[in-house]
């Protein structure tokens, strides 16, 4: 089955991202295809490469990033961050930083910034869209 995931909450504050990660991993292990993981609302904070949790805690960002290199058939899991939600929360990639005259960027390279159309397309293209959040 082709599945897409939407994550609406930030890391550590809320378990949504952890649950979504476990679900995604389990789905891939069962042979399902993950078409796209879309980060929205505070979910965009899951893409910060500046995340530094204590050593004995899970590293949610890296866990997602590592997933990005191994889907069921070896293809990438698409980790997409909503551009409008990201920018208003201070999450920028190199291109958005230079476009907005800001001297730094914090999106992990395993993630990419794109528009809300990617969420709708995921809903159209996938057999299931599973939403994690409040």
């Amino acid at each position: 089955m082709k599945i897409s995931i939407q994550i609406n909450e930030g890391p550590y504050q809320h378990q949504a991202s952890d649950s979504a990660y476990q679900f995604t991993k389990a789905a891939i292990a069962k042979g399902h295809e993950i078409f796209r993981v879309f980060f929205y609302h505070d979910g965009v904070d899951n893409a910060s490469r500046f995340t530094v949790p204590p050593q004995d805690d899970r590293h949610i960002v890296n866990k997602w990033a590592e997933l990005g290199i191994k889907n069921a058939d070896g293809s990438d899991v698409e980790l997409v961050v909503c551009v409008a939600a990201a920018l208003r929360r201070g999450m920028l990639d190199e291109s958005e930083a230079s476009k907005n005259g800001i001297d730094g960027n914090n999106i992990h390279p395993a993630f990419r910034i794109s528009g809300l159309g990617q969420l709708i397309e995921a809903g159209i293209q996938s057999d299931r869209l599973v939403v994690f959040g409040d």
Binding site: Q6, N8, Y40, H41, A84, A85, G115, L116, G117, L119, I120, E121, G123, I124, L129, V131, G133
Partner: protein, 134 residues
């Protein structure tokens, strides 16, 4: 691109959290994909389309006028939970008049709002392909 039935569930008050605003952004973007779109307002979500909203005292952008644009985007199936209205001492008269122009009826202006019971909403939800909950 195929057509699917999308429903957006709006469950939270318009201010206090960003869910309502960012839900509306998804709905407006999604309109470009020409899918079959329904909106439902339940729980505190009914406050999103209440008349006479004024945010002057809280420093937030009043985005309630944007809901009037939904009709122009061919989003004209707007369901409001009767129970949620009643629990809050509200009636249909407290809601903004959201309308659309019916091209099959000489562009007559008609209301987009249908007040329905939660049982009816359950049935409508079960007929959808994609349910996005905000």
């Amino acid at each position: 691109m195929s057509t699917k039935k999308f429903i957006y569930l709006n469950r939270k008050a318009p201010y206090g959290t960003v869910y309502a605003l960012e839900s509306l952004e998804v709905v407006l973007i999604a309109a470009a994909f020409e899918q079959d779109v329904s909106l439902a307002f339940i729980d505190d979500g009914v406050y999103q389309i209440i008349k006479g909203q004024n945010t002057d005292g809280i420093g937030m952008k009043n985005f309630s006028k944007t809901y009037h644009a939904l009709g122009d985007y061919d989003v004209n199936k707007i369901y409001v939970s009767a129970e949620s209205l009643e629990e809050r001492g509200l009636s249909v008269d407290d809601l903004m008049p959201l309308t659309y122009e019916d091209e099959d009826d000489d562009w007559a202006e008609k209301t987009s709002i249908k007040i329905i019971s939660n049982v009816q909403l359950t049935k409508i939800m079960s007929e959808q392909d994609v349910c996005l909950s905000f």
